[in-house]
Symmetry: C2
Subunit: 331 residues, 2 copies
């Protein structure tokens, strides 16, 4: 029997546990050219909010009744293609389920870092790390000496951004929620400073932490946190729009201070980044990240939940800010 | 005697006639290294709003009591530098006055296009044309076949943007106010289509005029017009922030629909452009524009007012939308 988490109903806002259901079904037969995978780790991503929403987005919405779309780490247990052999470990779009019968097109890559934990393929050596690395370098274009400010600074993407910017010679400032995460930013992820968005006077705190202005703002949240950042942009600043986690929904569309004047006066740039556009650079990025992990320059945090029963509430928990690292389900 | 228009008081919002005064004074002596210019044409720019404002901007605010900052076309009538000779025609930062005693650093360029009207140095062959050309090509990066949408489409910058984009092989759509300007956009400036922002249903009209989405939005206005454009951005769209003419003031800071989600979902880019950053490309840009004027590919419109008495109300008149082309004062 194969257990799977399906999308049972489309949420208004963040998907809650009741929007999912765990169902059992017989194992599917394997067609020519397909592979059977047994999943070991399932990923939980903030971006799942968008994958589930029924409004225009950067990917097709997950259909009601179908297995929740997710990256997973799994092992080939049966193969009807010459390209993948039984026993190989892969990461790919295998979904929130025990066992996936897939075409090779769903595979992202082989896990070749046998000296490192396999779960990293879902975090620092996966979509989070690669997003951090490519979005920072391709859009943020940090130069040595730049001040790089990161929202969700202790999160799976943000913590990697801060550390990579540090490796590249930048001054790194984090924005995060609460004194515990502020300490984690500085002590674990090596930020030069971190500010607490839950404390009063965020704009003043950012200005004080970034006395030469913000050259690169790596943003995962939008909203009031970003509103406090924009006045501090330096000349020719780059704003990487990597996520909009502040808003559970864009219907009705949220309003806020207009950005055009900041961009004009500072000759600044804002640009959206979606990892799916950059898969050609994925393998070389993972190789770079793996080297930084091995050298100790890139620390990571994982938040591993146990068993498929943890899936339905796992996404809502992310948006409640419960996790202290990359959230993963271990089957 | 030298007549000059001084900034008499700092306006709240758009400067009105009463914020200026015309004063007379004796001609200044000429120091070693200086040049005396007799102005022929004075420029009136929407950007003067920013030059006068006392809030942070991209140039030092004009001081109360000093001559209003302006580009002008003038002739050298006396020179104490070997680099410029009596009789030469120049464009530079000579101010709203009859006669300017200046250092060579205030000179933008010699007017070398002796076959074309000298007033063009303030418009299509000046800051407006060069802004249109460089902002469109450097930030907008239009490709043949792209849809280029332009706000203030019949204005001094906008009309040049539309025509240059056409020369570069794009489909050009203008946004302008009223049926007369819509007709001017299509008949005079060669836009493929133009929409009237004063009519109802702007977002639908833009969507209908840009069925493949907007690849380049060249924006001079911000505000509600831009709000109607952002949902129509195509994948990887470029938004050129060249002006924010919709807002007479940014104090209090205006609010509107947030842009981050559009930029993320469409992997789009917004970037501010200020011509002063690009003076190294000025001369080559003017040469290109002059060729297009000579070949008839670049049409222009001028709105020439008579005499210094027209200066004090000329800027307010621009913001009332009175002009039908580049506004210039002829002395």
């Amino acid at each position: 029997m194969n257990r799977a988490v399906i999308l049972a109903s489309r949420p208004a806002g963040i998907a809650q546990a009741e929007n999912f259901a765990i169902v059992e079904s017989d194992s599917k037969p394997l067609a020519e050219g397909q592979i059977r995978i047994r999943n070991e780790y399932l990923s939980v991503e903030p971006a799942m909010r968008g994958w589930i929403a029924d409004v225009g987005n950067y990917s097709e919405p997950v259909a009601i009744g179908s297995v929740m779309r997710a990256l997973a780490v799994g092992q080939v247990i049966e193969s009807r293609t010459g390209d993948y052999q039984q026993g190989e470990w892969l990461i790919g779009w295998f979904g929130w389920q025990d066992e996936a019968v897939v075409d090779p097109a769903t595979i992202v890559r082989r896990i070749i870092e046998k000296d490192l934990p396999r779960s990293l393929a879902l975090g620092i050596l996966g979509i989070n790390g690669v997003t951090a690395h490519l979005a920072l370098t391709k859009i943020g274009k940090p130069e040595p000496g730049d001040t790089v400010l990161v929202s969700t600074a202790s999160g799976a993407v943000g913590s990697a951004v801060g550390q990579i910017a540090k490796v590249l010679g930048c001054t790194t400032i984090g924005i995060t929620g609460g004194p515990e995460k502020v300490a984690q930013c500085i002590e674990r992820f090596g930020y030069d400073d971190a500010v607490d968005y839950k404390a009063a006077g965020l704009e003043d705190a950012i200005a004080a932490a970034c006395p030469n202005g913000v050259n690169v703002y790596f943003d995962n949240v939008a909203g009031q946190i970003s509103d406090a950042v924009y006045p501090q942009l330096a000349l020719n600043a780059r704003v990487v729009i990597c996520g909009t986690a502040s808003f559970p929904t864009w219907d009705p569309w949220p309003i806020g201070p207009r950005v055009e004047r900041h961009l004009l006066v500072k000759r600044a740039r804002m640009e959206g980044f979606v990892i799916f556009d950059h898969m050609a650079n994925y393998e070389s990025s993972v190789a770079r990240l793996a080297d930084w992990v091995r050298s100790g320059q890139l620390q990571y945090a994982e938040d591993i939940l146990d068993g498929m029963e943890a899936c339905p509430d796992a996404l809502a928990g992310l948006y409640r800010g419960e996790n202290k690292g990359k959230r993963i389900i271990k089957l």
